[in-house]
């Protein structure tokens, strides 16, 4: 065997061993405990990405369910910004930053209503989000400061990590009382699933 072939094989073997070892040792105690409600009420947790068109598509149905079941069901939105959506993380931070001024839901709706204008871009849409803050009458300086706040970003990423642990592979993913909802998240399908848990 030539020196070249021998050295090539050695490198391949070393890499194979390292990869195998890594996979073996990182098979940790993955707790796949899904988020559950504490107060006995029915809880719907949605992991979503503000830049995701499928989340945008599910949004009107979810809003309708909120108005219909608002008294009996808690709807909880958690962030799951997908890395390939370049502005999803900043959008999530912007929603939380608006939340610090009591306008979380308004910013959330505005993000989805205008998704076509800012989604799918490879450049930062910070200026657009600042415009949203102005539109909502937020304190601009405080909002801008919050956008850059690492603590807020951490909170968004912590939600994503939690979702990932619970088995979220894409968005939107719903958990109804801790059970992962499968199938297309249409108004009818979600309503049926919620109705089943309520009865």
């Amino acid at each position: 065997m030539s020196k070249n072939a021998r050295l090539s094989l050695i490198i391949v073997a070393v890499v194979a061993v390292v990869v195998a070892g890594f996979i073996f040792f990182s098979q940790n105690n993955n707790t796949t405990a899904a988020p559950k409600s504490a107060d006995g009420k029915v809880t719907v947790v949605e992991y979503l990405d503000l830049e995701c068109p499928s989340c945008r598509a599910a949004y009107p149905g979810v809003e309708r369910l909120k108005t219909e079941y608002g008294d009996r069901v808690t709807f909880d939105v958690r962030h799951f910004p997908i890395p390939s959506h370049r502005n999803a993380e900043l959008a999530a931070v912007a929603v939380e930053a608006a939340g610090a001024q009591g306008k979380r839901d308004d910013m959330f709706r505005l993000m989805f209503d205008t998704q076509q204008e800012w989604a799918g871009q490879q450049t930062s849409q910070q200026a657009v989000f600042l415009g949203f803050a102005q539109q909502l009458g937020l304190d601009q300086a405080a909002f801008e400061q919050a956008l850059a706040d690492p603590a807020l970003r951490e909170r968004v990423l912590a939600q994503r990590a939690e979702g990932s642990k619970a088995g979220v592979q894409g968005t939107p993913t719903f958990f109804i009382n801790g059970t992962k909802f499968t199938g297309a998240p249409t108004y009818d399908a979600l309503k049926a699933a919620i109705g089943k848990v309520l009865s």
Partner: protein
């Protein structure tokens, strides 16, 4: 070295040609159905549909894989000629060197775009990355240093750097798998 280059060009060119053709066909299918909405998955491969809609997918004003079809067809033809024992004139080798150098630079630019700007992977594009590197490497060795001993060692290390980049760029997804 001459036999090796001949086979790398013939096989690599052919594989690249197939991948470019598939990408072109997918591009046409996408044009026919502009309302196709890709699912929002953390899997960088499943967001493939979106890669083709980016500006980087048609740098020169037309879909990149068309360049691949033309380029890889030439590489395959030259490779087959070499395998069957034809010796090519010097100027053809110079021309090939210019072509594969452009190809390898372009592919690496696309790799950087894919990993760090677009944030998604597309399997057939990766096939093109994988064949473009040896085509460039062995053509260059044949033209510049045909006696170089550790040719496949360099190739493997080259591949490893790119694999490491893919792992790092999509770490969030890979770590959700284990």
């Amino acid at each position: 070295m001459n036999r090796l280059v001949a086979w790398v060009l013939a096989v690599g060119g052919f594989v690249g040609l197939i991948a470019s053709s598939v990408l072109t066909i997918e591009k046409i299918a996408l044009l026919k159905d502009p309302f196709y909405v890709p699912t929002c998955s953390i899997n960088p491969v499943l967001s493939c549909g979106s890669i083709m809609k980016t500006a980087q997918a048609e740098v020169f004003g037309f879909p990149n894989p068309l360049l691949g079809i033309a380029g890889f067809a030439v590489v395959t033809t030259l490779g087959v000629l070499l395998v069957s024992g034809v010796s090519l004139p010097r100027w053809v080798w110079i021309g090939l060197q210019v072509g594969v150098t452009f190809g390898v630079l372009f592919v690496h630019w696309l790799i950087v775009q894919s990993l760090y700007e677009i944030g998604a992977l597309c399997p057939y594009c990766m096939v093109v990355w994988a064949v473009m590197i040896p085509i460039f490497w062995y053509t260059t060795l044949r033209n510049i240093r045909p006696t170089f001993q550790y040719h496949s060692v360099v190739l493997i290390l080259w591949y490893l750097v790119i694999v490491a980049g893919v792992l790092q760029a999509f770490w969030f997804y890979w770590s959700s798998l284990v």
